[in-house]
Symmetry: C2
Subunit: 343 residues, 2 copies
DNA sequence: ATCCCCGCTGGAATCGATTCCATGGAATCG
DNA sequence: CGATTCCATGGAATCGATTCCAGCGGGGAT
């Protein structure tokens, strides 16, 4: 049971050489049944556990992969982390967790640590323009997979959500309810999902012949507070929107708070649709309509891709579908909204 | 920039032996300024990065620590993970994340993986009675720290919340509002926090001379669904409670849903207080009164303790205080509750 | 019966970094 | 000026597991 039991000890107890012991335990080369049995018995009796560090030094694999997200406290990334980690475990790989905290410098710090630890591969929801260590990764030929986000100019397999489809679902849903003025609370242009969702929104607006007033377009930073600021700006405008579409869940919560403080009722005076489903969005009052992707599947798929690349395969990027989950927050119809007390 | 640059390459380029190169880069032994400069320059030019695996094999430290929680998707554990991980990073240690999924078998699987990876130490929010691999850890003398929960019979430093104080705060708060019949939705007796909070509740009830009707005590499993079941049972009883106290956040959400479905209004017909503050509890309608501990501090403190133990120190267990955050969900006064429509 | 082949084995090299040991040269002191 | 000390350094052993290589013995084929 002691962690300091080494292969040499096992070999000695079994009365064979370390070479034979290794062959038996890794099961690769031919070994005699007698040796096999004795080595296995010795290993069990001594509580032998292979030293992954030594193994990693000799062979190329370390059975450790890095996962770099912006913040696990964001339920969306927590789901990704969980999906990735469970998939890794099934291949007996450990997951090194890293939070970039929306900070490019810390992202670089962690990539450096990953490189030093000689991980077998890295899954990352990248920040910024991909200058710093992201390039170093490519040059070091470390298997890499992007999840949720991508960076232009990198030939790296990715697992993303179908943002265009998601936006279309949301806009179509609101248009169907009769809304023509939809206020958009977007993400930062420095993140690929921020850019993709904005352009998809502009296209969807045009496709559905809705109001393309530039005053209806705002941008936040995917954090809660910015959602409130954006909502305030939209609602204070000359002709306020009758519906809001927020590009992520945290900004949606910020918007929700702001709307309430203005005495407006979501789902009655104003419709609200958010990206990313979070377990408790259905518990809010009113429950929030969302365009959701399966974050856990995102993480699990990314890990599968990564393990494939590590094994020498050539992974193809995957785009997962989004789906609309209509709840009460988008029950508002514009005529009602038109009569709401202006702020 | 290539990951395959080795110390030998650096030494060759600097025109010194590997021994000298190692001494310069680790900065331990005396080296001449000339050698220092040449080695450093060579290392930078080649983009040398020490191989942590090889380093770990030779020296005792691997600069990797394991963190085992039941589920990162639980915001409480996500906070712990974040706090722990950031603290580890400051000591340039990586954090291996593991989800036990409330499953003792998977907990054992992960402990095994950690042992194989030869981590420097492990932080764990333990499950079960501590049979399986938890004992193996103790025997292997791997530095260990318990977080949030403990297991009887283990002499392991821990970082926990002051459950007794938290329960007292909650009960005192409700008693002050005039409640005498408080329904308790507890955790599983297999988890230390479940046991501690229940006994603290019984003591607090006695101390405040409140109704000690055994029908007011229920237990769940810290998962959402069980909170709903428990609430249903409490509310269907002959003399339903006028206030509910839930031993964790997920069960509180379950109870909330159940209460709503019965047409009762939290904060008016019935008071609800929950353990664990979660960012969006203030966004619920009504905002939830909670007894909270700083989960991030819990994780950060646990990591500090662990790093201390790894460095040969003898860490003392820490008990962090809890505090009451009163919000509208506990504004209900019992006389109102008494007149609510019975289910 | 001889030869060859194949399965199994022990021994040794290897991965990359650390650290001990011995040595050479310079510096210091009597 | 000679002897002792000390500092910097190169070389080698080491950590634990894998894998190549050579050899040994047995069985089958001719």
């Amino acid at each position: 049971m002691d962690a300091t039991v080494t292969l040499k000890d096992v070999a000695a107890r079994a009365g064979v050489s370390v070479g034979t012991a290794s062959r038996v335990l890794s099961g690769h080369s031919a070994t005699s049944p007698a040796a096999r049995e004795r080595v296995r018995a010795a290993a069990t009796e001594l509580g032998y556990r292979v030293n992954a560090r030594a193994q990693a030094l000799r062979s190329a694999r370390s059975h450790a992969v890095g996962l770099l997200v912006s913040d696990v406290r964001n339920p969306f990334f927590a789901d990704i982390a969980h999906g990735a980690e469970q998939t890794a475990l099934a291949s007996s790989c450990v997951t090194l967790l890293a939070n970039a905290n929306e900070d490019t410098a810390q992202q670089d710090t962690y990539l450096d640590v990953f490189l030093t630890q000689r991980v077998d591969g890295i899954i990352i929801a990248p920040q910024g323009e991909g200058r710093g260590n992201l390039r170093a990764l490519e040059q070091a030929r470390v298997p890499l997979v992007f999840v949720d986000r991508t960076v232009d100019g990198f030939d790296v397999p990715s697992v993303t959500a179908d943002n265009a489809q998601g936006v279309e679902l949301a806009v179509a849903h609101l248009a169907e309810q009769g809304h023509t003025r939809i206020g958009y609370i977007g993400g930062p242009p420095s993140v690929s999902t921020g850019r993709a969702r904005l352009s998809a929104f502009l296209e969807a607006i045009a496709r559905h012949h809705l109001d393309d007033d530039p005053a209806l377009i705002t941008a936040g930073d995917f954090q809660r507070a910015s959602g409130g600021t954006a909502a305030a700006k939209l609602l204070a405008s000359h002709r306020p929107p009758t519906a809001l579409l927020a590009a992520d869940s945290l900004m949606a919560v910020g918007a929700l708070t702001e709307v309430r403080q203005r005495g407006l009722r979501i789902g009655e005076d104003l419709a609200l649709v958010a990206f990313d489903d979070i377990e408790w969005f259905g518990e809010l009052d009113p429950p929030l309509t969302v365009v959701a992707h399966d974050a856990r599947a995102l993480g699990a798929t990314a890990m599968r891709l990564l393990l494939d690349v590590i094994d020498g395969g050539t992974a193809e990027s995957v785009v997962l579908p989004m789906r609309l989950i209509p709840r009460r927050s988008s029950a508002a119809r514009p005529h009602t909204a038109a009569s709401h007390p202006s702020a």
